[in-house]
């Protein structure tokens, strides 16, 4: 059974992170930005899990990745609730057009 070098995981993680960054900065829609954030969080998780292979007794990387996953889900739930409220108020969720603090 061949072992996969850790740099492979890190390169995939770096690629996903950069794509997520590009998505989060280019989309003109708040939900598109959330998609980019999810990609970035997953890229970080790949790195944590890959390093956790070398720590088989205390798999701290995997435990940390588990907590990151839960926090990501919380973030998505709250962000969507906020986006729904913003949409009710402004009738758009383009971040460039949401430019008033007091409605």
């Amino acid at each position: 059974m061949t072992t996969i070098p850790i740099t492979h995981f890190l390169v995939v993680g770096a690629a996903l992170f950069c794509i997520g960054l590009a998505v989060a900065t280019t989309k003109k829609n708040a939900i598109g930005i959330l998609l980019g954030l999810e990609l970035m969080l997953n890229a970080v998780n790949i790195n944590l899990v890959a390093f956790s292979r070398h720590d088989p007794d205390l798999i701290r990387g995997q435990l940390f990745a588990l907590f990151v996953m839960v926090i990501a889900v919380c973030e998505i739930a709250i962000a969507l609730a906020i986006i729904l409220r913003v949409f009710d108020h402004y009738k758009t969720i383009d971040p460039d057009k949401i430019n008033r603090l007091h409605g």
């Binding site: 960054l21 890959a50 995997q62 990745a65 996953m69 839960v70 926090i71």
Partner: protein
């Protein structure tokens, strides 16, 4: 053999992510996020994290994707044809260049780094046992804090959505 499968799933994850970047249909982007997350779950399996792979599929596909699709459907101002959810991509040249430069930089750093890894990579059968023991012993406090946080998120989002319905 294992390496070939790894490349296939890594390509799946990265290609789906690139599709999210270049598509203008938000619904396709959400489904491609699902594909990308499945690819990442497969990578977890290659990194000997079976519990995390299953959790990834259950949490993201079962929860996040449904939530995102509902969010997309509830926030469309005007209907423009059958199920077409168009989103402009703004300022692409500068931002894509920025991301590409960051990618080159990261890859350079990764290949230049000499990681002082604690032990050699060991094959193990399953990590569920270890994860369970550590969650209940060494990581008990964060585990409980996460439980309280989830409760707070549940009540908070429910409150916001409830007030929204009442105000319509």
């Amino acid at each position: 053999m294992e390496l070939v499968a790894f490349y296939i799933f890594a390509t799946l994850a990265v290609a789906a992510a690139l599709f999210i970047l270049f598509t203008r249909n938000l619904m396709y982007a959400a489904f491609c996020l699902f594909l990308s997350l499945v690819g990442v779950a497969a990578l977890y399996v290659f990194a000997m994290a079976d519990f995390l792979a299953v959790a990834q599929i259950m949490i993201y596909v079962g929860g996040v994707l449904v939530l995102l699709v509902f969010g997309i459907m509830l926030t469309q101002a005007k209907r423009t044809g059958a199920n077409y959810v168009e989103v402009e991509n703004g300022g692409q040249p500068l931002r894509l260049t920025m991301a590409a430069v960051l990618l080159v930089l990261l890859i350079k750093v990764i290949y230049a780094a000499d990681f002082a890894l604690a032990g050699e990579y060991q094959l193990q059968k399953s990590t569920i046992h270890t994860v369970g023991i550590h969650l209940m012993t060494t990581h008990l406090l964060p585990f409980e804090i996460i439980a309280v946080l989830l409760l707070a998120v549940l009540t908070g989002t429910g409150y916001m959505a409830y007030n929204r319905i009442k105000s319509l």
